[in-house]
Structures are given as structure tokens and as C-alpha cells.
């Protein structure tokens, strides 16, 4: 098939047909959905492999090694160790590569999260509560914010039973959590509906031309 036909009308109709195949899943599983699903998985896995090769392996491993940057031998060796997973006798070598990734990932996560989820959060919670020089409702909101943060933290206490005072504070924490989850839920609704409108527009405007 030539480039023009595939990228033109045929491609458009193929996209439309696959869109309908996926939508049909909302009714129930059916052969059309299965077709689209299996095609989708095959295409995406192939695309991912190709993308990785051209965008990461070639420029970041093959090219540097060709330029005799020997430090890239280490990821190559670890990568080959990873592949030993395919051979049961030497498969344990893959753990070396996995351990490297997990260790370095853990090290960086400790710093990143202690900064962003600990220090920064303390700083943001230090808000002025003095009513002089600011409207009363700002102070009230700051107090509510403080109550929400502390009660939320108490909810996540694991070594203390949620009974008595702790239980009551944790209960307040749950109220804050649920309101927050509701807010996120409501905030997302319109974004999701606009995605659907986008697909309907594709079908009705680009493919059928009725709107």
C-alpha cells in the first residue's frame, strides 16, 4: 500500500473503525474489541521496541561505544546480565542489574521525597495565624489548613490504635481526605468528558462530516 493511501482516507477510516471497536467494549466484550485490542498490543509493543532502539540504545550506548567511551561498557554488561534471565542456569546474574537499578533508584528517592514531601510541606504549613494585618477569613482558613494537615497525619499513625483522642483526630483526618478525594474527582470530570467530545468530533467531523 502506498504512503498516500494509508495516511489518507484509508488510514482515517481505519482509525474510525478501531475507535468504534473500542467503544463497543462499553456494551460488552466482543470480537471487534478483541481484534482492536490484539492489534493495539502488537503495534504498541513493536513501536516501543523500535522507539527504544533508535532513541535510547543507539544514541546512548552503541554510538558512545563506537566512539570508544568505555564507561558505557558497564551498562552494556549489566544489560547483558539482565538478558541472562532467559537462561535458567545463569539467570541469577540478572539480579545484579536489578539490584543496581533498585539501589540507585532508592538512593535518589530518599533525597527527593525528604525534600519535596517533608521539608517543603513543613515550610508550606507554617502560615501566619496572627489576625492583625490580614482578613479574619484568611486566619480561619489557615487554622482549618493546620487542623487538616495534623489530623491527616494522625490518620497515618500506625503504631497507635485509632481509639480515644487519637481516634477522634484520625476521624477528622478521614473527613479531610474524603473531601479532598471528592474535589479531585469533581475536578477531573470535565477533562474526561472533553476527551469523549474529542473522539466524537473525530468520528462525526473528520470521518462522516456531519458537524
Amino acid at each position: 500500500m502506498t504512503l498516500e493511501t494509508f495516511s489518507g482516507t484509508f488510514g482515517l477510516w481505519m482509525g474510525a473503525a478501531l475507535t468504534l471497536c473500542i467503544f463497543s467494549f462499553l456494551y460488552k466484550d466482543n470480537p471487534f474489541y478483541r481484534f482492536a485490542e490484539h492489534l493495539f498490543v502488537g503495534v504498541s509493543a513493536g513501536y516501543w521496541l523500535v522507539y527504544n532502539y533508535w532513541n535510547i540504545v543507539k544514541p546512548n550506548l552503541i554510538d558512545p561505544l563506537r566512539e570508544e567511551q568505555w564507561q558505557y561498557l558497564l551498562p552494556l554488561v549489566l544489560g547483558i546480565f539482565m538478558l541472562t534471565r532467559l537462561f535458567p542456569n545463569v539467570g541469577w546474574l540478572s539480579r545484579w542489574a536489578i539490584a543496581f537499578m533498585i539501589g540507585s533508584g532508592s538512593g535518589i528517592m530518599i533525597i527527593t521525597y525528604l525534600q519535596s514531601n517533608f521539608l517543603e510541606q513543613i515550610k508550606s504549613t507554617l502560615v501566619p495565624l496572627d489576625p492583625t494585618g490580614q482578613p479574619w477569613y484568611v486566619v480561619v482558613n489557615n487554622v482549618i489548613l493546620l487542623v487538616g494537615v495534623v489530623s491527616g497525619l494522625v490518620y497515618f499513625f500506625f503504631s497507635k490504635a485509632h481509639t480515644g483522642v487519637t481516634g477522634r483526630i484520625a476521624r477528622i483526618g478521614v473527613v479531610f481526605l474524603m473531601v479532598s478525594f471528592g474535589a479531585s474527582f469533581g475536578y477531573t470530570v470535565m477533562a474526561r468528558i472533553s476527551l469523549l467530545i474529542g473522539r466524537l468530533y473525530f468520528l462525526l467531523h473528520k470521518c462522516v462530516g456531519v458537524i
Binding site: H38, S104, A183
Partner: protein, 227 residues
């Protein structure tokens, strides 16, 4: 050897990563470790590929349920691999003598080598199906709301009330209902911020504690070896 070496590698890599945050001359480890991890991941895609092919080939061989659809997966995979790898630039785009990565989604660039319709297949199969799967969320968000509505617990009610107010506050009609825009802003800025902060702090502590245990070898389930 099989158990100790990975634990030592994990510890050393973790300590180096921690140390580079405080000792600037060790910064090279950060840049290199990230690049190396990416390369290892990419090489590991080959293992995934073998798993995928084995799964579907077994289905076809055994004539298991839906084996005919497995042929579609295998053919699509094979075609994309051959088309993409045999094309000199694959998903690359040659612009001004410099290679930039091809599109993985919304940014479609032109002027590429499109042998075997590689990029067209991506644009006409993967992109529309991806967008449609994503758009299913419009239906699922409604059914999830209904599910929460049926739960009739105090927590579910709170969630729904907050969701309804914020949802109304985000659509034009909500701006004509007295108090809704203000309530939306207040919910988002005050209780929402407070709760998110509590969750974030908890996540930060839980994650760092797990990461420390991994580094110290206390948490080693991932190795699949029991003492």
C-alpha cells in the same frame, strides 16, 4: 554470592546516590546512573518481547481460546519491528541535520523517513485507539460516581458532595449558582490542600523508609530469595 553480591551492589549504588546529593564532586554518578538504568531497561525490553511472543505463540500452538487474535498480535508486532528497525531513521525525524525523537503521542512531526508506512500505522492505529481508550474514562467516571452514590456511607457522601460542588464550579452553569464558585475555590484551596499535604508527608516517610530498608538489605523480597 548469589544473595550477597546483589545486596552489596544495591547498597553501594544507594549510598553513592545519597552521597552525590551532598558531595558535588560525586554528581557524575547521578547523571551516569540514570543513563545506565535507562539503557538496562531498554535492553530488558528484549525479555519482555520474548515473553509476549511466547505467550501468544503458545496460545496459537495450543489453539487456546482467542488464538486467532493472538496471530494478529504476533503479525502486528513482527511488522512494526521489521519496519521500524529496517528503516534507517525509524521513528527519528531528520531536521536541520539533527536527529530529534519522533512522536509518541500528540506532537506529530513531518518530514520523516516513512518506509513501510511505519509512522502511518502508528498514527492511524495506535493514536486513535489510545485516544479512544482514554475517552472511555468519561463513561467510567460516571459509573464510578454512581457506585459511590450507592455506597451510602458517610465517607462516600462526603466525597460525592465535594465532587458535585467542584464539578459544578468547573462548568459555566455553576457560575450562575450562588456560592458555588466560592465554595469550589475554598474546597480546592483549604481542605483539599490540607489533606493532600497529609497524604504527601505520609508517602514521603513511607517511601523513604522503604528505600532505606531496601538499601540496607532489610527489605529484599524483590530478589525472590528467602533466607
Amino acid at each position: 554470592m548469589r544473595r550477597q553480591v546483589p545486596l552489596v551492589i544495591c547498597f553501594v549504588a544507594g549510598v553513592l546516590m545519597l552521597a552525590q546529593s551532598f558531595v558535588p564532586p560525586l554528581n557524575w554518578f547521578y547523571t551516569n546512573a540514570l543513563a545506565w538504568a535507562r539503557i538496562i531497561s531498554c535492553i530488558a525490553v528484549f525479555i519482555g518481547l520474548i515473553s509476549l511472543v511466547r505467550l501468544h505463540a503458545t496460545k496459537v500452538r495450543r489453539r487456546a481460546a482467542d488464538w486467532k487474535f493472538s496471530i494478529i498480535t504476533l503479525l502486528a508486532l513482527l511488522y512494526m519491528m521489521l519496519a521500524g528497525l529496517l528503516t534507517r531513521y525509524g521513528v527519528f525525524v531528520k531536521l536541520h541535520g539533527q536527529c530529534v525523537p519522533g512522536s509518541m503521542g500528540d506532537k506529530i512531526v513531518t518530514g520523516f523517513q516513512n518506509a513501510f508506512n511505519f509512522q502511518d500505522i502508528f498514527l492511524n492505529i495506535q493514536i486513535p485507539v489510545q485516544a479512544t481508550m482514554f475517552s472511555l474514562l468519561a463513561f467510567y467516571i460516571a459509573s464510578a460516581a454512581f457506585r459511590a452514590f450507592r455506597a451510602r456511607t458517610f465517607e462516600a457522601t462526603l466525597l460525592l458532595v465535594a465532587a458535585t460542588i467542584v464539578m459544578l464550579g468547573r462548568v459555566p452553569v455553576g457560575h450562575y449558582i450562588w456560592g458555588v464558585p466560592q465554595a469550589t475555590a475554598w474546597i480546592l484551596d483549604v481542605p483539599n490542600t490540607a489533606a493532600k499535604r497529609g497524604i504527601m508527608i505520609g508517602i514521603g516517610l513511607g517511601m523513604t523508609s522503604t528505600a532505606l530498608k531496601i538499601m540496607l538489605g532489610i527489605e529484599r523480597t524483590y530478589l525472590g530469595i528467602k533466607d
